[in-house]
């Protein structure tokens, strides 16, 4: 594995679903998506788009839950089905996820500790119970939570922000190389998002983890990401550095997205832009 091999290589990936109706053409959820993330330069790539744009399909491809119908997805130079078992296991460990709903990710039967203990035990990352507890405690403290306040509790006893930070803590402990964060803050109060996003940035800055940050909120994309891809109906309509794409959008859809962000200034209204037919 040479240094030039990218960590993640998505090469014109397309995913299409067969329609129920035999006569209708298949539905193209993702169309020719290309992205490369280098191994030695961790970065945060934002995938911005509305619902139905293909962002979630992309997340599932990167996580290995969905195979592309066209194009190639390669992790560390290898396609998933070509990997030998140890490489496959490494992939499972090194690519982790932060999902949108910080509630349903917890099994209601167990206290929240279960989410943290489970991968440690399966990947055998701790040599003893004491080491396991120490790893969990330090990861929780890293994300600004007091272990005594959250361990032993059930998910419904904690706030959305606390729960999502536990999910980030889980990622910290596993030391993945790539994290797919699918709308990690959209179900959290606007004023609490900054905390979780700062944690995500710390993952890149302190641990060298690359992150694919999927969102419909272009404001947060601006704050945390290095590169931005704008998806519309499965196609990449614009991409580039975060600053360039959001401050000087070229494509009309990107302009629509940027213009639709509500500014906290009553005098700076939504810009006058035409909208797509359905809403």
């Amino acid at each position: 594995m040479s240094e030039a091999t990218p960590l993640l290589d998505l090469d014109r990936v397309s995913v299409s679903y067969k329609s129920r109706n035999f006569k209708a053409p298949p539905f193209l959820a993702l169309d020719g998506f290309t992205l490369r993330i280098a191994q030695d330069r961790p970065k945060i790539v934002a995938i911005v788009g509305e619902s139905g744009s293909g962002k979630t399909t992309l997340a599932r491809v990167v996580l290995g839950m969905l195979a592309p119908t066209q194009g190639q997805m390669r992790y560390a130079g290898q396609a998933l089905d070509a990997m030998a078992r140890p490489d496959r296991a490494a992939f499972r460990r090194e690519v982790q996820a932060i999902f949108q709903d910080p509630f349903s990710i917890f099994n209601p039967f167990y206290p929240v500790d279960h989410l943290l203990e489970m991968p440690l035990r399966i990947f055998r990352l701790a040599k003893s119970r004491a080491e396991e507890q120490a790893m969990i405690a330090s990861a929780l403290q890293r994300v600004g939570l007091t272990p005594g306040q959250v361990l032993g509790r059930h998910p419904h006893q904690l706030s959305g922000g606390q729960r999502q930070r536990i999910v980030v803590a889980r990622c910290l402990m596993l030391r993945p190389r790539l994290i797919v964060a699918d709308e990690p803050v959209s179900m959290i109060d606007a004023s609490l998002r900054a905390n979780v996003l700062a944690q995500i940035q710390a993952l890149r800055d302190e641990l060298g983890i690359s992150i694919i940050y999927i969102t419909h909120d272009i404001a947060t994309a601006r704050q945390v990401s290095d590169e931005v891809f704008v998806l519309h109906r499965g196609k990449t309509v614009e991409s580039g550095t975060a600053e360039a794409v959001i401050a000087r959008p070229q494509h009309e859809y990107t302009r629509l997205l940027v213009g639709s962000v509500p500014r906290p200034d009553p005098d700076h209204g939504w810009s006058d832009l035409t909208e797509p037919a359905q809403g």
């Binding site: 996580l63 996820a97 999902f99 349903s104 991968p119 990947f123 419904h156 006893q157």
Partner: protein
């Protein structure tokens, strides 16, 4: 989703809080009281009353209730109090065995079919659906009529063989929903094997449904047994509630106004069914609000 935070001072233990919910539901408590009083009668009764008197020709026949025979005697010369005490545990045992076997088999099949899907699901679902279309009473009649002597255990297993389908269906339906949950996906991403996910992530969340299915299976089993016995196809040698009803019908107890013969088994059965029903309703109430709060 709002979280008001917990009441101060307590870190709730999940098992204890579940028991707490269970312990405070009035319907559940009432049901448990009814059923456990019958269990108590079944357990303690034989120590107080001579169950040999439940055998035919142990007492003068057709006597109405008196001090010697508080529930009177029947046409075959059985002391009916002894019969009640001897037969209640038999019926309870039958319900328990059939209910347990039916629920365990049904849960296992439902979990496998729902979680793993594919051809395994197709086979199990087809088998379940086919078995459901067979009228259980017809099968029971044929089996019972062709076997010379039927014991309580044999009846229990025959009934269990026809009791697993409903639990299998309801468990499978619930599993189909649960396996799409985010916590199942994250378990997969954490490297958990499919088998471990089925047993440790999905199965625990099925417990309320399993309990409800068990109660229903027990009721159903007792009812099926009662049906068979009332037709005379139950165990001839062991006293059971249903057989007592059969004998009373055979000997024309209604026409002869021997209420002490047909009334007691019916009262006991009524208490049992009402108790089981209250338990099932109470369990649902006690466990669901917690589930609702979490959703």
């Amino acid at each position: 989703m709002t979280s008001l935070g917990t009441a101060p001072g307590r870190r709730p233990n999940p098992v204890l809080s579940a028991l707490g919910h269970v312990a405070t539901n009035p319907k559940l408590l009432a049901g448990l009281l009814l059923v456990s009083s019958l269990v108590a009668v079944a357990a303690i009764g034989p120590l107080l009353v001579d169950t040999d008197m439940a055998r035919p020709i142990s007492a003068p026949s057709n006597r109405p209730p008196s001090l010697d025979y508080p529930l009177g005697t029947d046409g075959g010369g059985r002391d009916l109090l002894a019969v009640m005490i001897a037969s209640t545990p038999q019926t309870l045992r039958l319900g328990l065995i059939a209910g347990l076997v039916g629920t365990i088999v049904g849960t296992f099949l439902g979990l496998v079919a729902g979680f793993f899907g594919g051809w395994l699901d197709k086979i199990i679902s087809t088998a379940t659906d086919v078995m459901l279309t067979i009228p259980p009473l017809a099968v029971l009649l044929i089996v019972a009529a062709s076997v010379r002597t039927v014991s309580v255990e044999m009846m229990a297993f025959i009934i269990a063989a026809l009791a697993w389908m409903n639990p299998a269906r309801s468990i499978r339906a619930q599993v189909l929903s649960l396996r799409e949950r985010a916590y199942v996906e994250i378990a997969r991403i954490s490297g958990m094997s499919e088998l471990r996910i089925a047993l440790f992530e999905v199965l625990p969340n099925l417990l309320p449904l399993i309990m409800a299915s068990f109660v229903a299976a027990v009721s159903g089993a007792i009812l099926a047994a009662l049906g068979l016995e009332a037709l005379g196809l139950g165990p001839q040698d062991t006293p059971t509630l249903g057989m007592t009803v059969y004998w009373s019908l055979l000997y024309g107890a209604f026409g002869r106004n021997m209420w002490w013969w047909w009334a007691p088994p019916i009262v006991v059965l009524a208490i049992l069914f009402v108790g089981l029903f209250l338990i099932s309703v109470g369990l649902d109430e006690a466990l669901n609000p917690r589930l609702r709060r979490q959703s």
